[in-house]
Each structure stands twice: as structure tokens, then as C-alpha cells.
Symmetry: C2
């Protein structure tokens, strides 16, 4: 078992090497004529400028929090451990975002060029290669970091090792929170702002080069749907593995023993329990690397089929690999069942998401557009509410099965099983916005309808795969938080025991716990409200600036030669607004558990985590799925799904309203709420040893 961290590190390094190869392969491809290359440069510069400014703010945040950790854990002699682990978790998240987004901003224009010169299959491969850099960086850096941490600290006392991995997870999660919310606000403010003036007021098409907002809109795809999404998935991956490791570290022996019933040694079974999540991460990453190559090789098949398979098959292959590997460690097949339940649950959640965002329900939303935007929005919200049911039920069943076989440790393991295919899932997720960007560049560069048709088809698939990816991220988040709750309780009990107190009574029917549940329900609402308002406010500022440019730049709207928009001003506005507006929701998520924990105690905090979990899971599923469904209902009408009601008809306009509402739902507030519940849980975990 002591070799496991080395395998993880080695696999992580291989993944990063492969990522580098994809990176240089993408960069070496032809980027097309000067017109589209210039547009791509604008997008790349805007995206990197946002990332640099965001990272500066996050550096201040990281400095403050790592100092607080340094002093907070000083008394236990773990100040430097906690601070450095936090910084490592945070830094790796930033690095993954940086490399992945840089690759994406090279890949977008090269996908356009490949579509122009070589056709669909080549364009698909180019977009996938760009996405693979992000996918491999996310899983590779995550596994590398966790492997290193385990290698260095696995032999230290449990409390030391625990503090290190918890602080590592807090670093990953809190950076992800800011990156996801900041990127989400940017992308949707730019999208909504550009659409309102462009499509609705000036009546010019999406991505029209006259619209000063389209560069910012395309920048947004990169900073939100690539860098933000990447940080999110990296965080899910790290948090799931850390939760399982942490439980392995401190669960009572008799609860872990079913993992390896023939092994009488507590030390050795515990080492298995701690190592298994990393082992599964290693197998999953290896399978995913292979999967990425297989997916590329299938590029001549219909993209929708290829990408759906790429999302759903790899976790099962990883578990299949585990079937051969685990017996060598004396691990029972219960672990496989648990991992399998997680993978199957993730697939069900993904397929249900797929159903609600691309099949029957979107036809109903489209049909409800015939009676106007009001009924379109009502129907979309109803679809979103309904879409929560099967995923939540599935998670309940996965939880029950996992608990039945391996207790609460099993629930953590199921979350790891759900994320076994992270590298390829993230590849496919990042592919979507690259294809979207490719379409934008082709439109702005005036490459004509043939190229646009290819990029549109690639982008349409991306829309669905993004929704599927979000669904399984929320699913793993729920299971991870359930596991973390267990671990938090154990930490608090250890802290109480050290102070001579009895174990925490966490009776559900207790005024403090129930009030905690209600209190916890508030937090997802506040994060939802602040992020939606932020998008509205930032979009409003962008609308004003675009209107000003149309008014004050002579000939711009008419498309006269020499009348150039000033996209940099919009990019700057969006950047400033996104960075300013991400602070309040981010602060709520990080400060709330600290205040509740220290002022009201561990009992209320545990209740609050459960309340935030129930409401947060529901809201984020509702928002992600309704948002995806509205978007695709609009696209369905655009493709002629409602005979007699084409693009530009009243029904289509009604569908555009739903899509506008769905924009912040699916890409800002929904993901923000999903991360909130994990950030609250990991922050609570970190402070739990100081609570009573």
C-alpha cells in the first residue's frame, strides 16, 4: 500500500506530460488568416487579463487565509502545515485553470480554421485536444498534489495528516468558489448584455462583429465555462478523495473492517481505507487518458454519440480495472459494489440531466413559447423543479447501497466512484466552450455559413455535455458533503473529548439542530440572490456601454468600413464587475460556517450544513437543468422544431427570454450554490477540531 502515492504521482506526471503534448500540438496548428487570428488574440488577451486580475485578488485572499491558518493552528504545532497545504491546494487549482484556459484560447481559433479547411472531424479533434489540456491538468494536478501530500504525511500522526489534507481541500474549494462565481458572473453578464442590445434591440445576429460586446461574450466562455468550470471540477475531485481519505483515517476500526474482512490488522486496514481513494483516482486517470485517445480516434462518428459515451463509460472502465487490482490488496468486492453504485448513480444523474435538457421537456418548453415568454418561463421552472426528483432519489439510493456495504465510509467512496472519469469528463466539458468560441470567431471573421454550420453542430453537443457534467458534479458534491458531515462530527467529538466533554448529541429532533437546518437553508438563497443580482447589475452596465458605442461611433451599427467597435472597454467593464461582485457571495460561503461554528457551536453548524445541503442541492439541480433546458428549447425552435415559428418569430422571442433567465441560472448561480455547500463543509471540517 505504501507504493500507492508513488503510482498516483507517476500517473499525475504522465497526465501532465500528455497535457503538454496536446498543448503544443494545438499551438502548432495553423491559426488561420489574420482576421480571425486578430479576433482570437482579442479573446485570449481579454481572458488572460481577467485571469491575472482575478488571481491578484485571490492571492490577497490566499495570503489572508494562510496567515489565519498559520496562527490558528500554531497552538497545535501545525501552523506551517496548514498554511502550506492550503496554499498548495489553492495554487494547483490556479495552475490548472491557467494552463487549461490558455490551451482553450489557442484551440478555439484553430478549431475554426480546421472546420474551414478540413471539416467536421478535424475540428472536433482540435476542440477535444484543447479541452484535454484542461481535463488532464485538473485530474493530473489534483492527483499529483494528493499523492505528494500522502507520500509526505501519511506516516505522521492522524491529526497532522488530517489537518494537511483538510487544508489542501479548503485551498482547492475556496479558490474554486471564487473562480466559478467570478467567471460565472463575467460570462453571463457579457452574454446577457451583448444579447440584449445586439439580438433584441439592434436586431443583429449573435456574434455579429459590429456588436462591441461579442468579444467579451467569447472571453466569458473561457473564463467562466473553462477556467471556472475547471476549478469547480478540480475541487469536486479533490474534495471527494479527501473526504474518503479523511474518513479512512479516523472511522472506528469495526466500521472499516468490512473493507478487508480477512485482514486483522487495524493499521493495515486503515492504510487501505486511506489509500483506496487515491488508487481509484490513479486507475480513473489512467483509463481517462486512454479514453481521450479513443474518443479522438472516433471523430468520424456523430459527435453527440461519441461525447455521451466519453462521459458515461470511463467510470465503469475504471471500476472494471479495480476489479482486477483490488483483490491484490485483499479489498473485498463490497468496495467495487460501492464504487459501482457511485458510477452508476453518476451515469443516471447525467442521463436524467440529458433527458431534461435535450429531449421531451424542451419540446414542451418550446411549445409553451407559443403563448408567450410568461408561459415559457413557467414551464421551464416546472421542468427544473421536476428534474430534481430522479437525481435526488438516485443519490438516496446510492447512499443507501454504499452505507449498506461499507457504512458511511462507503458513501465517500461512492462519490469517488462517481468522479473516476474526471479527466475525460472535464475534457468533454471544456470542449463545449471551445466549440462555442470557434463559432463566435467564425461569425466575427465572416467565414460564411458552411464553417458556421460545423461549429454550430459541435457547440450544440457541447451544451448538453456541459449539463451532464454539472449534474454529476452536483451528485458527487451531495455524497461528499454527507461524508464530510460524518468526519466533522468525529473531529468535534475528538475536540470535546480533549476538553473532557461527552460526545456531541446530534439528535435531529432538537431545537438547535432544527434551527440550524433552517439557518443553513438561508445560505444557498443568499448566494443565489447575490450572484443573480450581480449578473443583472453587470449586464446592465454592459448594456449601457454598448448602447453608448452604437450611439457615439458613427456608422458602427450600419457596418460602415472603418467604423470599429471598442471591445476592450466592455472586456474591462466585465472584468471589473465580475471581480467586485464575486466577493460578497464568496465571503458568505467562507465566513458563515466559521461564524456559526464559533458563535453558535457545532450542533447548529451540523444542522446548518444539512439544511444548506438539502436546499443547495435542490436549487443547484433546478437551476442547472432549467437553464440548460431553456437554452436548448430556444435552439430547438431555431432549428425549426415549431413549424411556422422560425428564428425571429414571437415564439422564438419568448424562448430567448427563457434562455436569458437560464443564463445566470446554469452558469453562475447554480454552480455557485453547488460549490457553496462543499466550501461550507470543508471549511467546517478544517475548524471542527476547535469547536465543541
Amino acid at each position: 500500500m505504501e507504493q500507492l502515492p508513488l503510482y498516483a504521482i507517476a500517473t499525475g506526471v504522465v497526465a501532465l506530460v500528455v497535457a503538454a503534448l496536446f498543448y503544443f500540438r494545438v499551438k502548432a496548428a495553423p491559426e488561420g488568416g489574420p482576421a480571425i487570428a486578430r479576433i482570437a488574440r482579442y479573446i485570449r488577451e481579454g481572458a488572460m487579463a481577467f485571469l491575472v486580475r482575478e488571481y491578484k485578488v485571490l492571492a490577497i485572499y490566499a495570503a489572508v487565509v494562510s496567515s489565519a491558518l498559520f496562527f490558528g493552528f500554531q497552538s497545535q504545532g501545525l501552523g506551517a502545515h496548514a498554511a502550506l497545504a492550503f496554499l498548495s491546494g489553492a495554487a494547483l487549482s490556479l495552475l490548472a485553470g491557467f494552463f487549461g484556459m490558455r490551451a482553450a484560447t489557442f484551440a478555439n481559433v484553430r478549431t475554426t480554421e480546421a472546420a474551414r479547411t478540413k471539416g467536421m472531424a478535424a475540428a472536433l479533434v482540435m476542440a477535444l485536444d484543447g479541452g484535454a489540456v484542461m481535463g488532464l491538468c485538473v485530474a493530473g494536478l489534483g492527483l499529483l498534489g494528493l499523492g505528494l501530500v500522502t507520500k509526505l504525511f501519511a506516516d505522521t500522526p492522524h491529526h497532522t495528516f488530517g489537518t494537511v489534507i483538510h487544508a489542501f481541500a479548503v485551498g482547492a474549494s475556496s479558490i474554486a468558489l471564487f473562480a466559478r462565481i467570478g467567471g460565472g458572473i463575467y460570462t453571463k453578464a457579457a452574454d446577457v448584455g451583448a444579447d440584449i442590445v445586439g439580438k433584441v434591440e439592434a436586431n443583429i445576429p449573435e456574434d455579429d462583429p459590429r456588436n462591441p460586446g461579442v468579444i467579451a461574450d467569447n472571453v466569458g466562455d473561457n473564463v467562466g465555462d473553462i477556467a471556472g468550470m475547471g476549478a469547480d471540477i478540480y475541487e469536486s475531485y479533490v474534495a471527494a478523495i479527501v473526504a474518503a481519505m479523511a474518513l479512512g483515517l479516523t472511522m472506528p476500526f469495526q466500521e472499516l473492517q468490512p473493507l478487508a474482512p480477512d485482514n486483522p490488522s487495524e493499521v493495515s486496514v486503515r492504510a487501505l481505507a486511506v489509500g483506496l481513494p487515491i488508487l481509484l483516482g490513479t486507475l480513473g486517470l489512467a483509463v481517462s487518458i486512454l479514453g481521450i485517445f479513443i474518443t479522438r480516434s472516433l471523430s468520424s462518428l456523430p459527435p453527440a454519440t461519441v461525447l455521451r459515451l466519453a462521459l458515461i463509460v470511463p467510470p465503469f472502465l475504471a471500476i472494471g480495472a479495480a476489479y482486477f487490482v483490488l483483490p491484490h490488496f485483499g479489498i473485498t468486492t463490497s468496495a467495487l459494489v460501492t464504487l459501482g453504485a457511485g458510477a452508476l448513480g453518476g451515469a443516471v444523474v447525467g442521463l436524467v440531466t440529458d433527458y431534461y435538457t435535450s429531449m421531451g421537456p424542451i419540446h414542451k418548453i418550446a411549445a409553451s413559447s407559443l403563448t408567450g415568454p410568461g408561459t415559457n418561463v413557467i414551464r421551464g421552472l416546472a421542468v427544473g423543479l421536476e428534474s430534481c426528483a430522479i437525481p435526488l432519489l438516485t443519490l438516496c439510493i446510492v447512499g443507501w447501497v454504499a452505507d449498506h456495504y461499507l457504512g458511511l465510509y462507503g458513501i465517500a467512496l461512492a462519490a469517488v466512484g462517481m468522479l473516476a472519469g474526471t479527466a475525460i469528463v472535464m475534457t468533454v466539458d471544456a470542449y463545449g466552450p471551445i466549440a462555442d468560441n470557434a463559432g463566435g470567431i467564425s461569425e466575427m471573421g465572416g467565414l460564411g455559413p458552411d464553417v458556421r454550420k460545423i461549429t454550430d453542430e459541435l457547440a450544440a453537443v457541447g451544451n448538453t455535455t456541459a449539463a451532464v457534467g454539472k449534474g454529476s458534479a452536483i451528485g458527487s458534491a451531495v455524497l461528499t458533503v454527507v461524508a464530510l458531515l460524518v468526519k466533522i462530527k468525529m473531529e468535534v467529538n475528538a475536540s470535546r473529548a480533549a476538553r473532557g466533554l461527552g460526545p456531541l448529541s446530534l439528535n435531529l429532533v432538537d431545537a438547535e439542530v432544527l434551527m440550524g437546518i433552517l439557518f443553513g437553508a438561508i445560505l444557498p438563497c443568499l448566494v443565489g440572490a447575490t450572484t443573480m443580482t450581480a449578473v443583472g447589475r453587470a449586464a446592465g452596465a454592459i448594456v449601457e456601454e454598448i448602447r453608448r458605442q452604437f450611439r457615439e461611433i458613427p456608422g458602427l451599427l450600419e457596418g460602415k468600413e472603418g467604423a470599429e467597435p471598442q471591445p476592450a472597454r466592455i472586456v474591462d467593464l466585465a472584468t471589473t464587475a465580475a471581480i467586485r461582485e464575486m466577493l460578497a457571495p464568496g465571503a458568505i460561503a467562507i465566513i458563515a460556517p466559521v461564524l456559526i461554528g464559533f458563535l453558535l457551536g457545532a450542533k447548529v453548524l451540523a444542522g446548518a450544513l444539512a439544511g444548506a445541503l438539502a436546499v443547495g442541492a435542490t436549487l443547484s439541480l433546478l437551476m442547472a437543468n432549467a437553464g440548460g433546458a431553456w437554452d436548448n428549447a430556444k435552439k430547438f425552435i431555431e432549428k425549426g422544431g415549431l413549424p411556422g415559428h422560425k428564428k425571429g418569430s414571437d415564439a422564438h422571442k419568448a424562448a430567448v427570454v427563457g434562455d436569458t433567465v437560464g443564463d445566470p441560472f446554469k452558469d453562475t448561480s447554480g454552480p455557485g450554490v453547488a460549490i457553496l455547500i462543499k466550501v461550507m463543509a470543508v471549511v467546517s471540517l478544517l475548524i471542527a477540531p476547535m469547536l465543541t
Copy 2:
């Protein structure tokens, strides 16, 4: 203490006598010329036709459930008790709805006539008198029923008395669920349907007599906002009192003793704990009757001020009265503090609701309409999410305070304190739709702008008071469910003890409890989804029929002499649709706890109730407040709140979209979800003695 039920019965009878006086006073008033009298008759007949058909369906439901109870409780020798108590609770709910709605359908046209002949103050009094019939019937029948049940069964064994009051509450709650959802679907389907064809397509004003849907729209106000709302408030009132009585009956003596610390007798303290909720109901009803007369006498003041005071002051007066009465029973001032916390909490929730639905936030929603319906809807949803925070926080604080003074029994008492003013709150709530109807009748009858101006002003206030009433209903629901959870646990433990099992372990950090919480989160989503879809579907059918009439009845749209719409067909469509569509969400609420309890056990059921509570409270506050805010934002624009953007402007049209989305939110799904959590809790309570 044994006199208390008699006082309650006497006060209930007084309230019903006063209600009868108001009823006959309203009926004796002049109903105006034949034109408006005929319109009013259409509305009255449509409303009564709906009620009759709804009651037939509910009679079947009641027959089935009472038979199930008869046989289910047979083994304990309580079959007849449970069945009859259930039928009484249900029948009193139906009676209150019947009398209240009948009075309202007389009062609406007489309010129009009073506005025409005597002016604002007389019209206000007429609408209030109509509402008072409902208000007094709701509280009077509720108190009368509970007083009779207590008088008859208080001396029977606890288990018998408990079963009787639980079954009474289940009767009240489940009828309320169907009445609220059925009425809500009716009113919003008719409203949305009539608006879509009338305002948006045919461009004719609200309540225009040419629109075949306006009669159904006005019927909807009566069946939804009066009969449905009345059943809802009756249920809240009964459930809150029953929860406190039930806890008084079985809480361990040492937890009840702080209520009367000088009284050493368990029997006598327990009798106080059971009697106190009824005593407070009696005081509250007495104060409310006085309050109704005082409110009427202030009719020359601005209606907004008078009605806000009428909503907020009476609970405090009731507690002031309790200050003088309680010492006679040796009850400590802790009870007053707890009741006061509940009343104050209710007032805070009401005022916060008032703020979010009539002040700053609606200006922001109105301003966001300038950039289109998409941003209007986004802003409204953000306002709704934000509006959950302070009410939920307030409920946490009330819960903490109540628990601090009187333990979990105190939380139940706080809910009773919150509802002490039920009779007058319901009067003001029912006043709103009467004023709305009066406006509709005046428009349809062509009485001109002067009359309409008066009825519009009366109706505008009603809109806000309705939101305030909903807020405190949700607040009391949350506290009641918390109290019921405690009681359910006690009942299950008694059942387990009888089977030789130890007490139920309800650890929050337990896979079954946590999975139960996630499972419970599904149910509010499903009720929300099915009710929103139902409104959309029923509205669609109405739209088709109205379009058909405009198409096929020559001269109707042009308003030619002799071209008459066929409102009866719309009324019939809405009735059929509402009754059909109420069944699925109603069945979910009633069947889910039974299935969970018997198949998965009490542990999962307790978790599910907590999960449904957290998500249900959030969704219903969000929906009620966002809906009210959208409605008032639209009215704000209509009154010139956005200079340069009048009625009919693009900004106004955007606001109408928000209002359309808000319609099912505030009047169908939001209230449906709020009742769901209580129905689940009372049904669970009733079956708890059979669970393990």
C-alpha cells in the same frame, strides 16, 4: 382549567353569530343595477358550481380516508374516534370555505355599488364585512371544533385524546391542501389565460366585458384567494393549536414544569399545557372580533395604514390580554415571552414580506424591466431568493427563544402566538379579492373611471396584505412542523416501547436520516412542478377556447351590440381542469409520508420531514414573495413609477411577463408547497403510533 373548552366553545359561537350578522348585513345592502347584478350572479354561480364539484370529489376522498382510518385504528379500539374526528376537521373546513365564499360573492358587487353611490369609506367597510364572514368562520369554527373535541375527550386516556386531535388536524389539513391547490390552479389558469389572449393578443384592457375569460378570472379570485386561502388559514390555525396541545399531552413532565413552576401536580400542569393553546385561541378570537369592529370604524383613514395595523396589532393585544389572564392559572411569564416571540416573529416576517413586495425591491424589478422581460424575471427571482433570508432567520431566533424558555413545547406555543390574530388576519386577507372582484365588476359593468379608481385603490392594498398573510402563514407552518416532529418522535418511541424496542435513534449524521433529508427535498419540488405545469396546461386550454370565441362569435372582439361572449364555457373548462389537476399534487403530499413511514421506517420519515421542511419553507417564501413583488412592480409601472414608460410600453410588457410567472408562484405553487409540509407532518403524526 376545565372551563376552558367551554369558553372556547362560547367564543366560537359568538364569532359565528357575529359572522351571521355580517353575512345578512352584506346581503341586505343594495346590489346595484341589473347589469352589474347579472355579472355578479355569473361570478357567484361559477364559484358555487366549482365549490360543489370540488366538494363532491373531496367527499369521495373523505369517505376513503375515513374508512381507512376506521379500519386502521380498529385494532386500538379507536376506529370510530379517528374516522369521526377526521370527518369533523374536514367538514368544518368545508363549511368555513362555503360560508366565507358565499359572503364574498355577495359582497363584491355591493362593494362596487357602495363605491359608486357612497365612496371609498363605505366600499372599504363593505369589502371588510364580506371578508369578516370568512375570518370569523375560520377562527370560530376552528375554535368551536377544537373546544368541542377537548370538552368531549380531554378526560379520556392520552392515546385516545391524541388520536382524536391528530385525526381532526389531518381532516383540516388535507382538505386545505386540495382546496388551496385546486383553487390556486383555477384562479391562475383563468387569470393567465384571460390575460394572454386579452391583454397581450387582443390588446383589450383587464376585465374587459368582451373577453370571455374575465368571469372565470373573477370566479378564480373567489375559489382560490377566498375559499382556498380560508381553508389554508383554518388549517394553519388548527394545526398550530393541535401541535401545542399534542405536545402538552405527552411531553415529559420535567419539560412542561417551567410552564407553572409553583404547581407540583403533573396532572394539573399537563392540563394547563393542553389548555393554554385553546385559551390563547379564545383570547385571540375575542380580541380579533373587537379588532374587526375597530378597523371598520377607521374606514375614513387611508386603507393601507388601517389594514397594516389590523394585521400586526391584534396578536399583541391577545398576548396583552393573556398577561392579565395567565397568572390566574399560575402560568409563568415564560409563556408570555414565548407567545410574544411568536407574535413578534410573525410581525417581522409580515413586515419583511411587505418590504419585499411593496417597497425598494419592486422599484429595482421595475427598473430591470427597462432591459426586457429576461432581466425582469432574473431580478424578481433574485428578490425572491433574498427575501427568504430574514424570515428564516427570524424563525430560527423565535425557535431558539421559545426553546430557551419552554423547550420544544415553547416552539409550538410560539406558533400559536403567531396566529393569535387569525380571525382578523383572514378578514383582511379575504377583503383583498373582494375588492379585486369589485373592480372587475365595475369594469365589466362599464361604471366608468371614478368607481374603478376607488376599487383599484382598495385592491392595491389587498395585494400587499395578502402577501403579509402568506408570510405569517408560512412562518407558523415552519414552527408547527418543528413541534410536530417532536411529537412524531414521541409517538414512534411509544410504539417501539410497546414492541419491546429501544427509543428511535435520530442522529442527524446517520445515513438513513441524511438520505431521508434528501428524499424529503424531492417532495416540494414535485408539488411545485406539478402545480406549475397544471396552471400552464389549464391556461393553455382556456387560451384556445377564448381564441375560438373571438374567432367564431361575429363582432365579439369589436364590441358590437348583441355579440355576447360565452363565459360559462370558460368557467366549466377551468373547473374541470382545476379539479383534475389538484389530484396528483394532493396525492403526493398525503401518500408520500405513508409510503415512506411504512416501507422505509420512522427514521427515514423524520429525515424526509426535515428535508421537506427546509426546502419547502424556502421554496414557498421564494415563490410567495417573488410573485407579490412582480405583481406590484407591474402596478408600480402602471402608476407611472418609471417616467416615460407607461402602461403598454416595452418596459410594462416586460413587467407583465414577470407578473405572469409570479401568478402561479404566489397563488398556486407557493401556498401548495407551504401546506404540503404541514400535511406531511400531520399525516406522519397520525400514523406514527404504527411505525417503528
